[in-house]
């Protein structure tokens, strides 16, 4: 008897990559002498001596930290660690800390080492894990050192807000409050002869006016803080920080030596400066009152994304952050449009398609959107929506989300339809099933509502799905169309042949890799009973509904993550060197290991494609 004969152990090993790819003989060999331990949250694992070996998390969560405590990786069920302690006695001093109570398999070192030598694919998996952790480790070091010092020594003038919101001492509380509300700020500077004499904050209005039942007609000089603390624009950020924490205040006027105000700095500004945070960016977006200022705010977006990539956020999380920001931006622009053209004559929904719907945008994604109107508009009403849509699409373009080259935008009359109109459009795509119309329409099948009542969109999706379920030819055609573009499996061979010529090959990670997985996920997603729009959710759902093997689904999800990471890294590098977020990869910059890994990624996509053809297109060939 051995571990391999315990059904629960076997089941787990057989569904966890890279072990699932082993023959049962190899699994048996590896499982010889496995020990199972339970470790409590907060404990540090000993990886020395006989414990310097491969570990596999059966249930729980751990994190790998650098010797200095920087986060290198987070691990959960089915993840491995301890590989570098087997190969090189853990030269980087990595530590494993238990985040949640964990059940952990500890393998015998010898069996693992033998298998590493015998099985190339198995070895490759661990080599890749290791190299990606090393890359993260080096970045953890770089960011540990560089940022805090730099940040604190920036001068105030670089980060202060320059648009001053001011009032005079004789203005009433009511007037000041209305100015503050319009400008969406939480404080107002009180001036006398252009000199700063006081400050009134939201909190002052609460505690000194409302709470004591004072009149809204009081002059500001009665409620303001006189001679407030202030700071010189040439001071450093750390001075502002000290001052604020000493005086326990959140607003600090920036003044010249003669008390002329030149700017304002808030605790939130300091925080934002220290960590360009998505939440603060969204707050800023919601506070802007015109497209020009929105555009300025959105210029931070690229930096934010680059920072997120640098801080090793997971690629799916980066996707959701960008989606949250684009959604807020879209909504804010719609609000501004409504302020400008007046309230809509009746309810409508703003729809997004493609990458924004799937929440996997990256740097430089374009807009794909449309409108759903709750009734057939009269010519005047149609005119209103045309203007509004034009305003929204122009606004998005100005804020850095480029116009769609295929004109799939709400500003295009074709994509401002009633629910009935959208249902018909989908019915046409589903029932006509001509490959050429599908090729351009597939993007519409990734759909999400960002403004207006979601129910209408849910109904539309249900209608579309029931049509898909009735028309089996549709998925067959979609599959054949989607699998017509193949992953560049022979790419590296060609690359080697032609590297010296003038046609230096570049790899397009988006169209030759990610898009193919998105296409596959869409096919399976539409075959599922439950609609999901994000690629990984669709793959997971397909595995759950047993349309697709768990193995293939997991492999595709891993491939998608891997490609996305590469793509974001490539974009970041291009952005930092050329200012253009290109997703092309220069293969000369890849290590031989990364090349091998890419190769196996493409092979996974090819497998996925043939499985899809088998499942959906058999009999329609």
């Amino acid at each position: 008897m051995a571990a391999i004969d315990i059904p629960e152990v076997l089941k787990f090993i057989d569904s966890t990559p890279p072990f699932s790819g082993l023959t049962s003989v190899q699994q048996k060999q590896l499982l010889g002498g496995v020990e199972l331990t339970y470790v409590r949250q907060g404990e540090k694992l000993n990886l020395e001596g006989t414990r310097a070996t491969l570990h596999l998390i059966r249930r729980g969560a751990c994190e790998i930290r650098s010797a200095k405590g920087g986060l290198v990786d987070k691990l959960a069920d089915g993840d491995c660690f301890g590989v570098s302690s087997v190969l090189e006695q853990n030269p980087d001093g990595l530590q494993v800390v238990v985040l949640e109570d964990s059940l952990i398999y500890r393998f015998q070192k010898e069996g693992f080492q033998t298998l590493l030598q015998e099985n190339e694919e198995f070895a490759l998996f661990f080599a890749h894990t290791r190299s990606s952790r090393l890359r993260k480790l080096s970045r953890a070091h770089a960011t540990d050192l560089a940022t805090p010092v730099l940040q604190l020594s920036t001068s105030i003038s670089q980060i202060m807000a320059r648009n001053l919101i001011t009032a005079s001492v004789t203005d009433t509380v009511q007037q000041a409050a209305s100015v503050m509300t319009d400008a969406r700020v939480s404080s107002i500077l009180v001036l006398e002869k252009d000199r700063l004499v006081g400050i009134v904050t939201d909190r002052d209005l609460r505690s000194r006016v409302l709470a004591v039942g004072a009149s809204a007609n009081l002059p500001l000089c009665d409620v303001m803080t006189h001679a407030p603390a202030s700071i010189d624009p040439r001071s450093l950020v750390m001075h502002a920080q000290t001052l604020m924490s000493e005086k326990n205040i959140h607003h600090l006027p920036v003044v010249e030596s003669d008390h002329t105000p030149v700017g304002m700095i808030t605790a939130a500004d300091l925080l934002r400066h220290q960590e360009l945070s998505p939440l603060l960016l969204i707050n800023q977006i919601n506070r802007q009152t015109d497209i020009t200022s929105l555009r300025e705010v959105c210029q931070q977006l690229t930096n934010l994304i680059v920072n997120l990539i640098l801080t090793d956020m997971k690629t799916t999380d980066i996707g959701s952050v960008i989606a949250a920001i684009s959604d807020s931006l879209t909504r804010r622009i719609i609000e501004l449009g409504i302020e400008r053209y007046g309230t809509a004559p009746f309810a409508f929904q703003f729809l997004v398609f493609g990458s924004q719907a799937r929440k996997d945008q990256s740097l430089g994604s374009d807009q794909d959107n449309g409108m759903m109107l709750s009734q057939e508009p009269t010519p005047e009403q149609a005119e209103y929506f045309a203007k509004l849509a034009q305003f929204i699409c122009d606004g998005l373009a100005q804020c850095g989300i480029r116009s769609c080259p295929g004109d799939i935008m709400a500003s295009n009359k074709k994509w401002r339809l009633t629910q009935e109109g959208w249902k018909k459009a989908f019915a046409n795509w589903v029932e006509a099933s001509s490959p050429s119309s599908l090729l351009n329409a597939s993007i519409f099948f990734d759909i999400r509502c960002v403004y207006g009542d979601e129910n209408g969109v849910t109904e539309l999706i249900q209608d579309m799905q029931s049509r898909v379920a009735k028309t089996s030819l549709f998925l067959a055609t979609l599959t054949r169309t989607a699998t017509a573009s193949k992953p560049p499996i022979g790419f590296f061979r060609n690359f080697l042949l032609e590297s010296s010529g003038e046609h230096k090959h570049q790899l397009d990670l988006k169209h030759q890799g990610l898009a193919l997985i998105n296409d596959l996920a869409r096919i399976y997603g539409l075959g599922c009973k439950r609609y999901h729009v994000a690629t990984k959710d669709r793959l997971e759902q397909a595995a759950r509904e047993k349309l697709m093997g768990l193995d293939i689904a997991r492999n595709l999800m891993d491939a998608w993550d891997g490609l996305n990471e590469l793509r974001l890294q490539a974009q970041r590098q291009h952005w930092q060197t050329t200012g253009e977020p290109s997703a092309y990869l220069d293969p000369t910059e890849l290590s031989s290991l990364e090349r091998k890994h890419l190769k196996s990624t493409f092979a996974i996509i090819a497998d996925g494609q043939s499985a899809a053809l088998q499942r959906f297109a058999r009999g329609y060939a």
Partner: protein
Amino acid sequence: MPKRIFQAIDSWRERREEQTKPWHEHSYFVLDMETTGLDPKQHQVVSLGWVLIENGAVQLDTAQHLLLDSAEIDDVSVGIHMITDSDVMEQGRRHESVLRYLRQIMKDKVLVVHYSPLELGFLKSLWQTQPMPALAFDWIDTMQVEMQRRSRAQEIIGDGGYRLPACRERYGLPDYPGHDALTDAMATAELLLAQVAYFNDHEPSLQELVRIGGGRARLSSNNKTS
């Protein structure tokens, strides 16, 4: 006679010293049995599953699953355990050799079970079926350990809250759909590891574990008195 008394005192002292050692220095025999019913006097053992804990870790290589040949299989136990007569015919072992083997493995180990009245009762009745040398051992019942722990913490656990899956869930252990003897023995072993990890923030000695949820038992055959 004094010699025998001395010997007894010596072995008692030795055992006491053994018991005060940290728990991980002992070996544990974690056992689960499938039976044709719940009464050791009427029902029989169908199969035995076990795994050992050594050095504080479950040693997966030691896992064993044995079917016994003399058991009668009724429809109910087929339903519960998915074991059929033909399984028993194919894999069944002769009673005698199984018991000798069992005794050999259990020697010098601490027995671990979930719900001791049942498992100890069936072990005792197994020992009655064959002339066997006696065997004494310490035992730990993970259900009792759990009850003690929860009552000390003044937690109220509802009906069925001390069944194996419910206990495991409180420690974040995975749900095992199978309920054969081996899977349940594995599940019990993991539960013990978790309980030990949560033991008052220090590593318990065997004595401490036995005190809150265990005891000492002796198995012997009919022709020798116990």
